[in-house]
Amino acid sequence: MFKELDPLLHSQLRLAIMSLLMSVESAEFTFLKDKTNSTAGNLSVQLDKLSEAGYINIEKSFKGKKPLTTCNVTKKGIKAFEDYVNTLKQYINK
């Protein structure tokens, strides 16, 4: 009996965001937008979903006069990602 994959992570863009954030300490919004090749609006919505679930932290500040959004993964997010990968392994090794 396979465990169900976390629906919050089982989406192309959210999985891509989490994979990027798992590899770094923190990343700026523009970095995530470039690497995931997404639109600012769509990325913003998905970041909010991940943040509401407690998977990521979003910090808003300023870089000079420009607003700066920085994201980093939380402990809960790390756990969810690890669980997702472990479940994925089950599917691949079946």
Partner: protein, 191 residues
């Protein structure tokens, strides 16, 4: 990139994860600047000190003052890059603190150099093993690990060598530990 993909297969999910982790990998080549910049500065200082010693100049260590503008350039460049960088990585943080600790130790040794009769070259070469070797480990770049080991060997050779020849040992160590790995790193293709 699509938002909702309930039909993602396990393989597609795995491909996304792999591709994104690869995207987040920093370019190791940018670190080559510091090894080459400091490599040539220290080679020049060592050779300058050796030449002035041979010419009988009373204060040959004066050439080491060229490291002051080098520190300023390094710090300015590091600050500029830090501001431009859009991600913060564990490697970057560990690497930065490793070299800052090393820099503080060097300043301390130079500050108390009179207690050691200014025979600092072998000592500095020996402790240079630590940040150089560990940078090689962090970058997964073997030539830099060999460079760290070379510092250790040249440190021992330095302790066994008369003071007036030590700048030549120092220059040779830097050539093996910073300059050769630095050029190899600069020309390394992304894996």
């Amino acid at each position: 990139m699509k938002t909702e993909s309930e039909n993602l297969t396990a393989q597609q999910s795995l491909d996304i994860i792999t591709a994104m982790i690869r995207e987040a990998k920093g370019k190791a080549q940018k670190n080559a600047f510091y090894f080459l910049f400091w490599g040539w500065i220290i080679v020049a200082a060592n050779l300058g000190m050796f030449t002035l010693t041979q010419l009988g100049y009373r204060h040959p260590y004066i050439v080491w003052l060229i490291t002051i503008p080098a520190w300023i350039i390094s710090l300015y460049r590091g600050y500029r890059h830090g501001k431009e960088e859009r991600i913060s990585t564990h490697f970057g943080t560990v690497s930065m603190w490793l070299w800052i600790c090393f820099g503080i130790c060097i300043f301390t040794l130079v500050g108390f150099g009179h207690k050691l009769n200014y025979q600092l070259n072998p000592l500095i070469m020996t402790i240079s093993t630590i940040p150089t070797f560990l940078s090689g480990v962090l970058l997964r770049f073997r030539p830099l690990m060999f460079g760290g080991a070379a510092f250790w060997v040249f440190g021992i050779v330095g302790f066994l060598t008369p003071a007036e020849w030590q700048p030549l040992i120092g220059a040779s160590a830097i050539l093996c530990a910073y300059i050769v790995p630095g050029y190899l790193l600069k020309n390394r293709k992304d894996q």
